[in-house]
Symmetry: C2
Subunit: 362 residues, 2 copies
Amino acid sequence: MSPTEDAASSMVTLADIAARAGVSMSTVSRALNRPGMLPAATEKHIRRIAAELGYRPNRAARALSTGQSDLVLVVVPDIANPFFPRLLRAAQRTLIDAGLYGVLVDTSDSPETETRLIREVARNTHGIINMSSRLVADDLIALSKEQPLALINREVPGVPGILLDAEAGIQAGLERLVDLGHRRFAYVRGPAVSWSNRRREEAVRGYLARDTTLGLVTVDPGDSTFDGGVLAAESVAVSGVTAVQVFDDVMAQGVIHGLLTLGLRIPEDISVLGCDGTLAPSIRGTLATVALDYEEAGALAARTLIQLRRGVEVPQPHIRVPGSFLPGTTIVQAPSPQEVTGVDSRADVPAGADSPLAATDR
Amino acid sequence: MSPTEDAASSMVTLADIAARAGVSMSTVSRALNRPGMLPAATEKHIRRIAAELGYRPNRAARALSTGQSDLVLVVVPDIANPFFPRLLRAAQRTLIDAGLYGVLVDTSDSPETETRLIREVARNTHGIINMSSRLVADDLIALSKEQPLALINREVPGVPGILLDAEAGIQAGLERLVDLGHRRFAYVRGPAVSWSNRRREEAVRGYLARDTTLGLVTVDPGDSTFDGGVLAAESVAVSGVTAVQVFDDVMAQGVIHGLLTLGLRIPEDISVLGCDGTLAPSIRGTLATVALDYEEAGALAARTLIQLRRGVEVPQPHIRVPGSFLPGTTIVQAPSPQEVTGVDSRADVPAGADSPLAATDR
DNA sequence: ATGAAAGCGCTAACAG
DNA sequence: CTGTTAGCGCTTTCAT
């Protein structure tokens, strides 16, 4: 059979059912939307007829009447960034199960576009799931006062947020590295504006601070891409570290590529730890990384939003979904001590061609 | 400023503008929706007031009145499959520019779910973009009679479709391989149901048929994943080929992994050519592949749908968007002839552990 | 327990 | 050229 009813039956209206059942429209409406309000017999009768006729509510009419849409705006800076698809999938499935529909909007990483599109689209939605928003906190707070708003990877006071927190995974990875004899580490940064980046650097810094014999160098590439990683590799190479934690997997691939090009061996000379687990399904068993629970986080965001739509106060506004260490072949025993070179300048230096020098900062 | 108007002003209605402008609602409606119908002066005046008040149309009301929604259903088998995000992004941007909104639905690769969700959601949308649909042709034909329908990677008679056609890229890649001295090739298949897979195999077969000295072996893994690729590697290894075209990049990574595990060298012993270019932004410069133009295809699908919504007959129902060969380090000179082993069984054999034997089929 | 009726915001005849 | 009017399909008082 055809996947939708034919044109005629898809236009079945409450009035049609009412006529057929010999009751009024309001009765039909009640039977369908307020289970238990009517005598069980009539309710069942009406529901049967509705089913027979293949009735599907006209959402626009309902929205107009109630002033409440079943549309949820889902905002993403870049759908093609492998960080988002699994989140989207989980959120979308949860929404569908609740009878809600997600309108997907890609903001091209631009706060202006984000503002414009939200303003344009949000008029006709009820609820927003905003992933890795590029807006400033104040805008998000203001937005959350107009409409239910659930954030992903933003920690804004008073606004519910789901946080994909790599800390535990990063620290487990670092622990493994320390056990393997590594003492000098680099962290290659991601986008400065990103909550994830700040959080990850904190995690690295926090873990290494436990032991004063451990050293950290941070590298600030211009660009959080594969190419940025390639560039960052120069700084990593001269920094004398034996292990590097990179902001995400794509950059980590760039770092590896860059290090190999510079004549270093991976992992013999330098161990590399990525983050996100986005490449795992495609290129398994190579890059050690931190796997994030996208399914859980996406579903949580949707569930939070559904609560907010219902007017339920969300008790715990910020939920952290922990990531876990995913071993790989890019991590091995630290090279023997005499091969390790120390560095001791102090300021962070961008990994540009001119100043390919990284610096210790603790 | 806040990204949306405040609650009060976001509820500005046509009547408000009419009152403020001292005209009737219909005049306002005309000024806003039928540019040029009114005297330029009044139109401008009304538009100014509307802008001042921060008017945003209530789409539900408009939909109810016109019987036409500005929602477009976008159906995808699996958002997390890297084949789709860039298509989605392009389609979504084109839709937004046309004032339309995409409701995203993921069918979990299941035709049943696809049918159910389309039936449920399509009632309230006008137009469907269906990517790599799992439905049978008849269902799609039926669906296209109820609502504008644009397909991606499905070739269904009478239904407009955009086809990401890897043929040209595959053939350019094969040509390169032939120039490098390769004579015996394998094709590792993707999902049997997939249009892409059939088309790609055809492309390989068609190209190699030009020269009777060229041989082809096909391998049928159980599963179109990284692991399927690993399994397929066994058959590839024993087939005596020196070059292999794999259905897609993810499987190609699996094949490479499998071949390496079996002790073969890549690319010295076997050259590998992937397809899709999905891994290119993350792992550049390694896998030779066929880059597809997702941006063009996604935009074309959206534009086609927009035409259909306007009642415009689409002249050329099936548009092929050609892919192009993307060189990589997995392709080199064929090993010297004496190293090459021939195979000459004839039937396709699944690449299972029990029968790790591939077969020549032309 | 059920029906009648008003109205959500907008569009589209139909008048003037 | 512009205003009046009647719905679109549904929910929701308010009566009965």
